[in-house]
């Protein structure tokens, strides 16, 4: 049979891969350029390996951080803006939360497999659970900041702070694969560390805000204590792979 039964003749010779290529290229560009403000600012991904190492040390062992916790500001174009993460250890970034979330998924997959319960659907469930947990942390921190009066911290800062908790969680889950009792020592330690980190950071964020931090010191302290304490059930829930 003559394979010439192509009603479009010579129009599409070799055009199919080109169409896919340009389509994917354009879609990729559109995907990244859709919120051009975010892309052009590119503040949260200005990181290097040294920053990542030091920041992880600050998140996981905040007691050892000798320096101050305030973010360094610099005047840019007449306004005060914060220095990017490469130059300031206290600046939030989005690389570490993203990688910590990915590590959390992978470690959860291995933990599921170690007890014989791995299926791709279970992993997808764990992914959704992680996203939900991240979202809940964001709501928590945002609510806290709103009640305490300073509500002009940018949303991506809060997303970054909320995502730092995944680093400790994934480390504790990794330890659990080897010896399950280790989990019950390591996990409270990391909950405490994440709580301390968040409290210290939020204190600086609130102090940076314009008003009313000093007016109700005890109320602020109770709220911050609540923030630290609620990390325990939150991170335990995230680390629990049977739910």
């Amino acid at each position: 049979m003559n394979p010439q039964a192509n009603p479009f003749g010579s129009a599409l010779h070799g055009a199919a891969p080109g169409l896919i290529r340009t389509g994917l290229g354009v879609y990729g560009e559109k995907f990244l350029d859709s919120s051009s403000e975010f892309m052009q600012s590119n503040y949260y991904f200005q990181v290097n390996s040294q920053y990542v190492r030091n920041k992880l040390k600050v998140i996981l062992f905040p007691f050892l951080h000798r320096g101050h916790w305030t973010r360094i500001t610099e005047p840019v174009g007449g306004r005060l803006s914060y220095k990017p993460p490469v130059q300031d250890i206290n600046a939030p970034d989005l690389y570490i939360p993203l990688m910590a979330f990915g590590t959390y998924i992978i470690v959860a997959g291995y933990a599921l497999g170690a007890v014989g319960r791995f299926t791709p659907e279970a992993l997808t469930l764990q992914f959704s659970k992680g996203l939900l947990g991240w979202f809940l942390q964001v709501i928590l921190i945002k609510g806290l900041l709103y009640t305490l009066g300073s509500s002009e911290a940018p949303l991506l800062d809060i997303v970054a702070y909320a995502g730092y908790g995944f680093a400790g969680t994934s480390l504790a889950m990794f330890a659990r694969i080897f010896w399950s009792y280790l989990y019950y020592f390591i996990m409270p330690w990391f909950c405490l560390c994440t709580g301390v980190f968040l409290v210290k950071t939020m204190k600086r964020v609130l102090l940076g805000g314009p008003r009313s931090y000093e007016r109700h010191p005890s109320r602020n302290h109770y709220f911050l204590l609540f923030l630290a304490v609620v990390q325990f059930p939150m991170l335990f829930w995230l680390g629990n792979i049977s739910g």
Partner: protein, 256 residues
Amino acid sequence: MAKEFPVPPVVFTPSTPTHRRHPPPGAGPSPRPAFAPPRPSTSSAANPLPFMSFDVNAAAASSSAPPLYAGPIGVGSGTSFEDEPPLLEELGINTRQIWRKTISILHPLRSADPSLHADADLSGPFLFLLSFGLFQLLAGKFHFGIVLGWVTVASLFLYFVFSMLSGRRRGDLDLYRCVSLVGYCMLPMVIFSAVSLFLPRGGGLMFGVGMCFVLWSTRVCTKLLAELASSGDEHRGLIAYACWLVYMLFSLLVIF
């Protein structure tokens, strides 16, 4: 008694119309139509079917049975069957190039040649994903759709991280090239899924072997990403960790 009419004999001749007889009313054949094809006995091919292409070139060139869709072809392109490029070339599958790229990835110690991957294509990755799915099927796991979905998500993730890290100097990495790279660097994982068929399920040996293959994939992928995007040198460790996460995800499918 019926009246006899003199009915002339019916003769179809291709020759001059002087031999035509006036057809009697109500009987006899219809007059020879003006568009009747020439007698096949005159052409070289013994063609009993009276259906011929209207395109003179196609009719002259085709040697086999006449095409059923000869009409639109004649109207559409006017090219003959021999002038069409081969099917693989038409689809853009360059098998030579795919083979060369595969061989360049296969050497675990010698670094892959990044200039080969400058022109990205998706047919090599498609082959690799298909064989990955087939090896998984041999192990009793039906993962075709899952692998496809995870490759998409993983490529999007890697593209996002890479372009955000490189900022303005993205080089010429676009989503198509990223998918192509991730797909090509799946080759060690495909080999791992083949090897895992012979290893005891769930043991530490499988885990150790898996780590070697994951590291191999990560190394190749990082190198290609850094070279192709022309700006990845200072973020090599950060990109390597992202690639490592992606390939650990696929090792999960193989090991468990």
